[in-house]
């Protein structure tokens, strides 16, 4: 009896650790060289995602802005803010900024931003309400189960292409019907989406 209880307790502990923010890093803000606030830049100033993440529609990698992109504005505003010192130093000393990756997939998984964006998956679907995040954190576990939930039933999440970058978009009440219609319109081949070769190679 005791052994059985111990096994159950052990199993439960492992399960809890596996799904805990300690392992998944969900909702854990990460240390960065500059405490960059998406909340301020997106909902405060109204910057579009693509102002910085320039290659999100054309490449696998969404793109992290070069120091010069930051300095387009910060050579004019907040010129002397101590918090921006690393950015200014980067330009002056010709040293690259080293950001900590927030959404990190294992090396045997190959993700492509462009195809998701072009097929109507909103930024917020995976990255959460980025416009409300003063510091960046990971919104989803990025576990394979989570990927497959959508790859098996994309109609639950698809939105019109025009709404992909809209942080305030809310799914319609008949999301399943609307999503199915979008799935057909965008030629999303669900059968193929759960092939191993979609992500692993």
């Amino acid at each position: 009896m005791g052994a059985v209880l111990l096994l159950i307790a052990g199993g439960w502990t492992l399960y809890a650790v596996y799904w805990s923010p300690y392992t998944t890093r969900v909702a854990v803000p990460r240390d960065q060289p500059v405490p960059f606030s998406h909340k301020h830049h997106v909902s405060g100033l109204g910057l579009d995602c693509r102002f910085c993440h320039t290659t999100v529609e054309t490449s696998a990698f969404a793109g992290i802005p070069a120091t010069e992109t930051c300095m387009t504005c910060h050579s004019q505003v907040w010129r002397d803010a101590p918090v921006l010192a690393p950015v200014r130093q980067s330009l002056v000393r010709n040293e690259r900024l080293r950001w900590t990756r927030v959404n990190d997939l294992p090396d045997f998984v190959f993700f492509n931003h462009s195809i998701h964006v072009n097929k109507g998956i909103g930024c917020a679907t995976c990255h959460g309400p980025v416009d409300q995040m003063p510091l960046m954190w990971q919104e989803q576990t990025l576990y394979m189960k989570w990927c497959l939930d959508c790859h098996r039933e994309p109609e639950r999440f698809l939105r019109p292409r025009e709404e992909v970058f809209n942080m305030n978009w809310l799914p319609p009440t008949d999301q399943l019907a609307a999503g199915s219609e979008l799935k057909a319109r965008y030629h999303v081949n669900t059968a193929q989406l759960s092939d191993c070769s979609m992500c692993h190679r």
Partner: protein, 1004 residues
């Protein structure tokens, strides 16, 4: 480590001969072991891996074992709980234009081998080159490359490359070198450079030529020498005799119906080989609407890539090839020889058949002599081609692409003489390794000490660097600016893709140091040179266009009209046939098919690449024919001692069917002593026996020596029993024309009641990826094997692991001999994963790590694989490879940026195999979907397909009836390997067609 996979076997060659002659003998065989049915062969045949190949039998102390076990137990517990380590994203400071993170860029550049350039397109991910492809616009590439080009990428990232300027072996720097050089140069300038000597390899660079011109103007008494161990001296000498000037013959193999190769490996070792292989095979391919093939005769001592593709191949010693050329000349009415000089009944028959065939194809034939044949043979061949009316139709002449074409051996001899006399004060050696590869009788290494200041520019610290006062690391061609010409004269700019990784310099920068105290960068030097040429009205536009295209437009040489001097040719020819002492053995030297003259000896990809025909890896050997082996009572691995003029080489024997009798071939380039970790202790140094007089061949005595040597050959690995099952299919053109369905009719496919699968059902959706490999046009050059290795991050395992059958190449090229033991036919069959529709491997995987996707690909999912190896056990084609150890190098920093970022780097304990380059399919699929269109035919090129010089590999979508692949699959020659198993492979073959001369039908 004691290799266990191979035992040395002494063959009963008489029994092997008898078995091959008998009617139940194998039609296609891979090795002597197979014909003899040795224990080793049957073991490889029936077992997935040879006995004990999967066991750890190294001497491992108990203490060490416990330590390892303890560590792995501790890690096993932790591994499942650890989180991913945090990764950094490091963006640019200024975003470079045109660079999209995650998307590769391609840049045109060129690589030289033996001085001659081939245009390349190099893939770059975030600023580091990751893959080399041919430049489709370049006339000497047409999109293809050879194995050397592919492997040059690894040279760039080689951790053992030279990294610092050395003075007397101590680390120094460029500034210290410049000041030392300037001191000497001031003296030289006063004395007009009387003691200044420059030694380069074969040069075709217009900029370098102009720079040397500048140096010789400033130092009028200075001299420029050129030497490379694999050179065109004989070709130049032949042109000199025939035409009184050095010209380069340009061949049009696409127009030739009959080709005679006199010891010429024009499809592999010629500076224009890629182009010639494509042209030759285009005139050979039987497609819809074409029912003609060209015919190739090869006369050569050792099987070469070209010879293995001949319709008729006559193995003759090098001196006999010369005799053959004279006799052929006599048959065609050229030269002073007579056909009777050449004796031997079957050979006589061969000779007359060749002559008759040539005579009926006047103006449509080519006779080509190899650079190993003496100058007068080349001259004679020019005369024969003229007599046949080929000059002007299939052959024309142009200037040579070499800046200073001449006799390199003589040039080096002059330099050595001056060194001996102590007249060389400053010696600048730009690249090359003469201390290792100069003719042995020159004793270059010894006389090099006579130079007061010797400077060596080299990419590695080799034998020559060790003897020079200064060693300057040479930049790789992917890190420096230069230019070069290809065989037809087309000039290309060599454009770098990355800043120099180490403190290297280019030859241009070093030469500039002779001209000015503050040398310019190679970019300035090359650019200024082309500016001075005034080729373009708007220089900036012309320059950018040239860099983009990868070649300088309209620089191919114009045809030169030449006058043939028959008198000179007659005078140069010997009066009688070259005799042969029956006791003597003729030794011939060849560039190694994988490491060339030794320059690639530190390249693991090339070292491990199984050599064409012999399939040896990591070694060279004394190649001898079965009859000679029998006569001398030696077998595979037995050491023999070769002796020539007092110089001796102890080297093990490898019996090679197809070698001429009484001759031995040792490939050059092995036995390097000062080299990085990879090439150390690999092979035997044939340069020891090479002298200026016996540059390509010479007489030696051969004596059996004591001891045996363990080779690592892949010839017997992954064998499929070709005696019981037909894995290779071939026929003649005549058979095919008379009976087009001969392949289909002899193929047994199971009927519906013999199988659980419905043989008629069409499995999987659109697109349905498939591959077709044409066995007629595959020349066995190995480029595909290395392209696959580079594209798919395939690790190198080392000689000991290869000997156990653990090589990791996803694509192998099987060599099959056919016919008689002494004059076999040779056949090549590339074998990637078959991507069976009803794949046997999938049924036995307990964890679903190998399974199909909806496009019909047989996938291997590394992160699911637990390493049971059941799949490999169940694969009838033996195409799966298992990571027995941690082969991929996770730790060497310089190797990380080399890898393809779109392919997983595999770890110990997982299975892997050909994926049809699924990463390339994925890129094409996403691009097409983003653009709302279907994937176009030809949009996905697999790495092996892209690199193939002869377009023997075609890949595409079967569900598109207009695709190239769909048409090929309907070709009557299409067949599946082991069709009777009903695996329904997506990779199929086109049977090989030969075009034998009816007059020689039973001679082979």
């Amino acid at each position: 480590m004691k290799p266990i996979a191979q035992q040395n076997v002494t063959f009963d060659l008489a029994a092997i001969r008898a078995r091959l002659r008998s009617s139940d003998g194998p039609r296609y065989w891979r090795s002597l072991e197979e014909v003899a049915r040795t224990r080793e062969f049957t073991e490889f045949l029936h077992r997935e891996f040879p006995e004990r190949a999967s066991e750890w039998i190294d001497g491992l102390s108990r203490r060490h074992f416990l330590k390892l076990m303890g560590a792995s137990l501790a890690l096993a517990g932790l591994a499942s709980c650890t989180r991913q380590p945090a990764e950094k994203i490091v963006p640019y400071i200024r975003q470079p234009e045109e660079l999209l993170s995650g998307q590769p860029l391609f840049f045109a550049t060129a690589m030289t081998l033996g001085g001659y350039a081939t245009g390349l397109l190099v893939e770059s991910h975030n600023g580091h080159p990751t893959k080399i492809e041919g430049n489709p616009e370049h006339p000497m590439s047409l999109g293809a490359t050879n194995a050397f080009h592919q492997a040059s990428l690894l040279d760039l990232y080689d951790p053992d490359r030279s990294q610092a300027v050395l003075h007397q072996g101590q680390i120094s720097n460029w500034e210290a070198f410049l000041s030392a050089l300037n001191d000497s140069l001031q003296t030289q300038e006063r004395r007009k450079g009387v003691g200044l000597r420059i030694l380069t390899e074969t040069g075709t660079s217009p900029t370098l030529h102009a720079q040397i011109g500048g140096v010789l103007k400033k130092f009028p008494e200075a001299r420029w020498h050129q030497y490379e161990p694999i050179n065109c001296d004989n070709v130049h000498g032949g042109a000199q005799i025939a035409f009184g000037q050095i010209v380069a013959p340009q061949y049009r193999f696409d127009r030739a119906r009959v080709v005679v190769a006199l010891d010429s490996d024009f499809m592999f070792a010629h500076p224009a080989a890629l182009r010639y292989a494509r042209d030759f095979m285009n005139a050979r391919r039987v497609t819809a609407g074409r029912s003609e093939m060209n015919r190739l005769y090869a006369v050569e001592p050792v099987p070469t890539v070209t010879g293995s593709n001949a319709d008729h191949r006559l193995p003759l010693r090098m001196s006999e090839v010369t005799n053959f050329a004279i006799a052929l000349g006599a048959e065609l009415g050229v030269g002073r020889g007579s056909a009777t000089n050449f004796t031997g009944v079957s050979d006589q028959r061969f000779l007359s058949a060749v002559a008759a065939d040539l005579k009926t194809h006047r103006g449509q034939s080519i006779i080509i002599a190899g650079e190993t044949q003496p100058p007068f043979v080349h001259a004679l061949v020019h005369a024969m081609n003229q007599a046949l009316g080929n000059t002007g139709t299939t052959i024309h002449y142009t200037a040579s692409a070499e800046s200073n074409a001449g006799n390199q051996v003589q040039s080096l001899r002059d330099l050595v003489d001056e060194l001996k006399q102590g007249r060389v004060e400053v010696l600048l050696i730009l690249g090359g390794n003469p201390a290792f590869n100069a003719p042995a009788d020159f004793a270059f290494a010894e006389h090099l000490k006579g130079a007061r200041l010797a400077i060596h520019l080299s990419s590695d610290r080799n034998e020559t660097s060790a003897l020079c006062h200064w060693h300057i690391p040479q930049n790789h061609y992917l890190e420096s600016w230069s230019d070069a010409r290809s065989y037809d004269g087309t000039a290309s700019i060599v454009q770098p893709l990355i800043l120099p990784l180490y403190a290297g310099r280019s030859a241009h920068e070093l030469l500039d140091a002779l001209l000015q105290s503050h040398p310019r960068t190679d970019y300035d030097i090359v650019r200024t040179f082309w500016q001075s040429q005034q080729r373009w009205n708007d220089f900036e536009r012309g320059w950018r266009r040239t860099l983009h295209d990868g070649l300088v437009a309209e620089t191919a040489f114009p045809i030169r009209q030449v006058e043939l001097s028959l008198d000179q040719i007659t005078r140069a020819a010997p009066r009688s046939a070259i005799g042969h002492l029956p006791s003597a053995i003729e030794l011939s030297f060849r560039p190694d098919p994988t490491i060339w003259d030794g320059r690639f000896a530190d390249n693991g990809w090339l070292q491990e690449l199984p050599k064409p025909i012999t399939k040896l890896t990591w070694d060279n050997a004394a190649l001898i024919g079965p009859a000679t082996a029998q006569k001398r009572a030696v077998s595979n691995g037995d050491f023999v001692e070769l002796e020539a003029s007092g110089r001796r080489l102890r080297v093990p024997v490898w019996i090679t069917p197809g070698m001429a009798d009484d001759c031995v071939t040792v490939h050059l380039g092995y036995g390097r002593t000062r080299i990085g970790r990879v090439g150390r202790r690999a092979g035997f140094d044939a340069f020891i026996l090479r002298s200026a007089d016996s540059f390509w061949s010479g007489l030696v005595t051969l004596n059996k020596a004591s001891g045996r040597y363990q080779f690592a050959t892949t010839q017997g690995h992954m064998v499929i029993d070709s005696a019981e099952r037909e894995v290779y299919r071939a026929g003649t053109l005549a058979d095919f024309l008379a009976h087009p369905e001969f392949v289909k009719e002899s193929t047994r496919t199971p009927s519906a009641h013999e199988t659980l699968f419905n043989p008629e059902a069409q499995l999987f959706d659109s697109p349905r990826w498939a591959m077709s490999i044409d066995l007629t046009t595959c020349i066995g050059c190995n480029a595909c094997v290395l392209a696959c290795q580079s594209e798919n991050n395939i690790p190198v395992v080392g000689k000991a692991q290869v000997a156990r059958g653990r090589e990791m190449h996803w694509l192998r090229v099987d060599s099959y001999f056919s016919g008689e033991l002494d004059r076999p036919g040779m056949n090549h069959q590339p074998v990637p994963c078959m991507h069976c529709e009803t794949a046997p491997c999938e049924l036995v995987c307990p964890v679903g790590a190998t399974l199909h996707d909806h496009e019909g690909l047989n996938l291997q999912v590394y992160n699911r694989c637990v390493g049971t190896r059941y799949c490999s056990n169940n694969c009838p084609y033996k195409v799966r490879r298992f990571n027995f150890l941690q082969y991929a190098d996770y730790h060497t920093p310089s190797l990380k940026p080399m890898r393809n970022p779109n392919v997983t780097v595999r770890w110990r304990g997982v299975m892997e195999k050909c994926t049809y380059c699924v990463q390339r399919i994925s890129v094409a699929r996403i691009t097409a979907k983003n653009e709302n269109r279907p994937i176009r035919d030809g949009e996905v090129l697999t790495a092996c397909q892209q690199v193939c010089p002869t377009e023997a590999i075609i890949f595409g979508d079967l569900s598109d009836p207009n695709s190239r692949i769909a048409k090929l699959k309907k070709h009557p020659l299409d067949f599946s390997m082991l069709a009777e198993l009903n695996t329904r492979p997506r990779t199929t073959y086109l049977a090989k067609l030969r075009n034998p001369n009816p007059a020689l039908e039973n001679v082979a």
